[in-house]
Structure formats: C-alpha cells, structure tokens
C-alpha cells in the first residue's frame, strides 16, 4: 500500500515536471490537509499557515526537477514546510510580530455553545503549550503525535539523527507534562 502510494507520488511529481496542471492539483488534494495541519500547529496562526502551505506547493512546482528521491515525497514536502515555517517565524521575529492567536475552527454543527467554549479552551491550552516548546521540539513532536511519523522518517524530514529526534520528543513530552501538571485543576474542571 505504502509502496503504491510512493509510486503514485513519484508519478505526480513527474507530471508536474512535464507541466501537467492536473498533477499539481492532485498533489495538492493528497497532501494539503496534512501540510496545513502541520503548518497550523507550527505557526499557531491559521492565516499564516494557509499562506505557508500555498508557498510549499509553489516551491514544489518550481523545484520538482530538484527532487532526488533520497527521501519519500511526503518527507520532502514536510521538509519544505518545516523550512518555510522557520523562515516565516524568523521574518515575524524581525518584524516583532509573533501571532500566537489561532483562528478558531468553525464550530461543529449541533455543538452547543458551552461544549464549544470548553473545546475552544482546551484547544487554546494545547496551542499555548505547544508554542512554549522550542521550534525543534515542536517540529519533532507534531510530526510524531499528529502525523504518526516514525522517528527515522522524522529524522530524514528534519535532516537530523534518529537520536536527536528521540531527544527532542522526550524533552517536549517532559516539558508538556510539567506544564499540564501546573494547570491540572483547570484541565480537570474543563473536562
């Protein structure tokens, strides 16, 4: 199954190299949801996450011929996204603008106001905790927790060793445990 997906990904890149617009659209449909989830959690800013996700696909079009097959297409896309997020945050730091306020997802149909407020509160608490982590820790943790990437693939995506991935995730989880432990009462009350 994975092999077939990998071969389909390569086929899409080849179509993009040949200038096939439909190939680019298919790659978008296949990877945009995951990349948006990643950029959204990395930047904690929905509008910025959308812009960076767009940027990733534009870069893929212009760099399709540079893909050398050493990493999987998915890893390559996430690597571009991780770099784009870093650049974005660097630019924002220079401009002294650090948007941590995420745009709330539309409320699910039928969800009551109280439930919605509680889930918004939980979401905000998790986002704030993630934002407190170092960029390196957050990248590794988000890829492992929300994208189910094995350590070896995270290492390939971020260009670091498996040992470094392990350390970053370990430290991130420890930091979150300490942070969530501090607010245990409010968390219990919210749930």
């Amino acid at each position: 199954m994975e092999l077939r997906a990998a071969s389909e990904d390569l086929g899409l890149l080849e179509r993009i190299r040949r200038g096939d617009t439909e190939g680019a659209a298919e790659l978008f449909e296949r990877y945009a949801p995951a990349l948006l989830r990643f950029t959204d959690r990395m930047l904690s800013d929905r509008a910025a996450a959308e812009e960076v996700t767009q940027e990733v696909f534009v870069k893929v079009i212009s760099r399709a011929h540079q893909y050398d097959g050493r990493a999987g297409v998915a890893s390559w896309l996430f690597a571009i996204a991780a770099n784009a997020c870093r650049d974005r945050r660097r630019r924002e730091r220079r401009a002294s603008v650090v948007p941590l306020e995420a745009v709330a997802e539309p409320r699910a149909r039928g969800e009551g106001i109280e439930a919605s407020l509680m889930s918004e509160e939980r979401r905000r608490a998790v986002r704030e905790a993630l934002a407190e982590l170092s960029e390196e820790q957050r990248e590794a943790l988000v890829l492992a927790r929300y994208h189910g990437m094995p350590y070896a693939e995270i290492a390939q995506t971020l260009g670091i060793s498996v040992g470094a991935v392990k350390t970053r995730i370990f430290r991130a989880v420890e930091a979150l445990k300490a942070r969530f432990g501090e607010g245990e009462h409010s968390w219990t009350a919210a749930t």
């Binding site: 617009t21 680019a24 659209a25 978008f28 948006l36 959308e50 940027e55 350590y151």
Partner: protein, 329 residues
C-alpha cells in the same frame, strides 16, 4: 529494568517506536512499581490531551485560491521553459548572426554597385549592409506593409550584434527578416505589432516582450527611450492578453521602465482586476518601488485595500502590507 528507563520507554511506547520486547519489559516493570505507573499515566495524559486539539481543515476558498495559484504558476513555468536555451547556443548564434549580417552586407553592396539596378531586399527584409549609412531607412525598407494587420507566423529572433542590432524574421506570404536596433522606429513598430496581437503563439509574443525588455529596461533606457507604440502594446497586453504568462511578462517589462502616469494606471488596473496573483505581485512591486521615490495617493490607497482584503492571495496581501511599511507618507 530500572525506574530511570521508564520515561524513555514510555515515550517510545506512545510514539509507536517501542518494540515488542521493550513493551513487555515496560509492562512487567509497571505491574510492580506504583511510582512508575503514575509516571506512565501522566505521560499518557499528555498524549491524550494533545489529541484534543482539533485538526485544521481546508476551507473551500483556500482550495480554490491555491489551485488557481498553482495553475498560474504552472503556466509561468511553461513560459520559462520556452525561454530556456543551452548556454553554448548564445555565442554560436551571435557568431552566426554576425556572419550572416556580414555576408548579406557584402552581397547587398556588391549588387547595388551595379549601375541602374534596384537595391535588393535581403531575405525579403532589411538591407543590413546599408545600416551604417542610414540605420532607420534600412529597417524602413525592410518592413512590409502592416496596414492590413496580417498575422505573422514563424517569428524568430537573432540576438543583438555588437551594434545592438537584432534580427526579426517572420512569414506573411513570404519570409521577411528585419534587422536593426530595437529603438529604430520601424523595428520598434514591428516589435509593438508583434506584442500587440499579431503573433501566432504566446511564445513568439513572449520573446518579443523579452527583446523589448532587454533593450529598453534599466540603464539602457536613458539612451534609448521606449517608443510610445511599444508602451501602448505592452499596456494593452497586460490588460487584455488571455495568457497569464504573457501578461506577467508584459508587467515585468513595464516594471523595468521609469514610472509614468500611464504605466501607473495600467499597474493599478492590474492590481485591482488581474486574475493572476503573479501579475498582481509584479504590480505591487512596481507601484511600491515608484511610490518609495514619490508617494502617490492612488497607489497607497490600492495597496491598503489589497493588504486588508481577506479574499486576496496571501502573498499579494503580505507584499502589499510590507510595501506600505516602506513608503513614507
């Protein structure tokens, strides 16, 4: 297993990295250690809590905008590929063009030396050899009648020689080749004609725009002011051409000229209504560069509108916002 190893292994279990042996060893240790069970529960709590953060989903508007952006980007890439030429070809082509010019000049001079014989038109086109005597007249004699607005096909270009003369070949009913500097009125007229509407393919039109751009942009502009026909043709192309790659090329060319009220109006129109974000980005850059030198109320207003427009493409919005920061007003 030691209690000190538990956190490490517990995290690996949560991430799915722990193998069967490690999981079994961990379970065995947890069964007999109350403190480690609490640690494991705390880590599982972190993992579960992270899962309460809902995933961002793709908005239909975001999908629509991005797919449109990707489509235009793909078109732009195609135009780029058209431009690509092997590096070694350029000197060879230049040498060939010079050789051709020298040979045609020699034969033209030889033929005109015969008393009573009419001056020939080389390859249906310009008398290159006469260029040093009457540059504009040479091109003028080469240019066929374009009053009836014939469609030009198989347009080809010879790069500029050391005197800045380019060659433009095309078919109407027969093959014509016009050689001269792009600022010679007749050559400029021909280029404007090709840029306007009358080349068969977008690639031919794109190359004509590049030629105009290379010759008239930047430092060369002071010595070779761009002709009104070319300005009008580029403006018309930016406003009306169906191909976004060609429109962007026209915008790039116009951006290389000194800003005039006419060019500003074209860019403001493009920023307001061009469907292609790549074109709008060029418009933002050009307008912002000019406004930095001489702030203009219409430009500032348009950039403000773009920076605040939630429907606008993210790149364009960000670029407009950054441009405003750099304009003193």
């Amino acid at each position: 297993m030691d209690c000190r190893d538990v956190t490490d292994l517990a995290v690996e279990r949560l991430t799915g990295e722990a193998g069967a042996d490690a999981r079994a060893a961990l379970a065995e240790h947890l069964a007999g250690c109350e403190r480690c069970r609490e640690e494991m529960a705390a880590l599982e709590g972190v993992w579960t809590r992270l899962g309460t953060d809902p995933d961002a989903t793709i908005r239909p508007e975001f999908r629509r905008q991005t797919l449109a952006l990707l489509e235009s980007e793909m078109l732009r890439q195609r135009v780029k590929r058209f431009r690509a030429r092997p590096r070694f070809a350029s000197p060879l082509l230049r040498a060939a063009a010079l050789l051709l010019a020298a040979a045609t000049g020699y034969f033209a001079a030889k033929e005109t030396a015969i008393p009573g014989k009419a001056a020939p038109v080389v390859a249906g086109g310009a008398r290159v050899g006469s260029k040093s005597v009457a540059p504009a007249a040479a091109a003028a004699s080469a240019l066929p009648d374009l009053q009836a607005e014939p469609r030009l096909s198989n347009v080809s270009y010879q790069p500029a020689d050391k005197n800045g003369r380019v060659g433009i070949g095309f078919d109407i009913t027969s093959r014509h080749t016009v050689v001269g500097r792009p600022d010679d009125p007749e050559v400029a007229k021909l280029l404007a004609y090709i840029v306007s509407t009358n080349a068969e393919t977008s690639g031919e039109k794109s190359r004509a725009i590049e030629l105009v751009s290379e010759h008239f942009s930047g430092a060369a502009t002071a010595n070779a002011p761009v002709s009104p026909e070319i300005l009008a043709a580029l403006s018309n192309t930016l406003r009306k051409d169906a191909n976004p790659g060609v429109r962007k090329k026209a915008a790039d060319a116009l951006a290389g000229f000194p800003m005039t009220p006419e060019i500003r109006t074209v860019f403001l129109d493009a920023l307001r209504s061009d469907k292609n974000p790549g074109v709008r980005l060029v418009a933002v850059d050009a307008l912002a560069a000019a406004a930095k030198q001489a702030p203009d109320a219409n430009t500032i207003q348009s950039l403000r509108e773009k920076a605040a427009d939630p429907q606008e493409n993210g790149f364009v919005r960000a670029k407009a916002a950054n441009a405003l920061k750099e304009i003193a007003f």
